[in-house]
Symmetry: C2
Subunit: 152 residues, 2 copies
Amino acid sequence: MDENIRKRLHEMRKNGYKITPQRQEIVNAFLDSSRKLPLSAEEVYMKVKEKYQNISLDTVYRNLAVLQNLKIINRVNFHDVKSRYELNPGGDHQHHMICLTCGSAEPINFCPLKLLSENNFAAEKNFEIREHTFELFGYCSTCRERAIIDNA
Amino acid sequence: MDENIRKRLHEMRKNGYKITPQRQEIVNAFLDSSRKLPLSAEEVYMKVKEKYQNISLDTVYRNLAVLQNLKIINRVNFHDVKSRYELNPGGDHQHHMICLTCGSAEPINFCPLKLLSENNFAAEKNFEIREHTFELFGYCSTCRERAIIDNA
DNA sequence: TCCTAAATAATATATATTCTTATTTACTAG
DNA sequence: CTAGTAAATAAGAATATATATTATTTAGGA
Ligand SMILES: [Mn+2]
Ligand SMILES: [Mn+2]
Ligand SMILES: [Zn+2]
Ligand SMILES: [Zn+2]
């Protein structure tokens, strides 16, 4: 996936974007992160700061917006106040199961839109769908097992 | 629906809640609103202020939280930064089609969870679902028609 | 009517995000 | 390789949303 992402990063130039060190490092923050929880702007900021002490939070936000437009990353909004962002290797989208205990976000290989289109739902309503959200909140298997042990 | 909501409001007393004028007026703000767009805290605040000039925004937030716990209203999170709230006549939950032009939010009579449980999805993953979100964003029929006329 | 837990207003604080402006830099065309 | 320029940046101020603190008031039961 790294290659895919890097390739798309370099294609930015065609659209008049520049590839600055800060911009690259912001993408690296995502590539380096092994976490299942998508990164907040603040977390990206802290990571990039290790290499570029002077980077401003504004630069992070600006780049997150740009990368989002290019579909290199996706913004995901959980119950949390702040937005989170994750790499988007497929250039598509992703739904999640988010654990209310540990905060992990596991992708779901299911999209409810498929079913809606089979049902001809939007056509009937004359509504032109452009985007959608679908997220599950609950308790992941790890946290559930731990809860059982703790209660024993 | 007004009766249903008012009944549930009065049942609050049983749980140790008091029915203050401010609290009633906050519920009225929702009952009076004919808008399809759920109300933001700020909008509720402005509405209640017409009657109680001294109400504090904090009181609005506090009551929105209380009413949410009692399932009298639901919080809905659209793309927007701020949260919005709507009456919950069924005491259940509701998904929406939100228009990116006019902001209207039409309820959808479809919940993707039904299908997931048929598929035994969560059971396989060992994930205990507690909450979920599902919202469609796009263009409503009214705005689509208007766009066609404007272009003619 | 009195008592008390609950609710309130006022104010301060926290947190996330965006805006403004002066300066620097990545890229391109010559 | 250089120079010109649009794009990007850092710094800091500003805005927006939401929450916490505290002293005072009030709803509703005893
Ligand atoms: Mn989907
Ligand atoms: Mn549902
Ligand atoms: Zn977990
Ligand atoms: Zn519309």
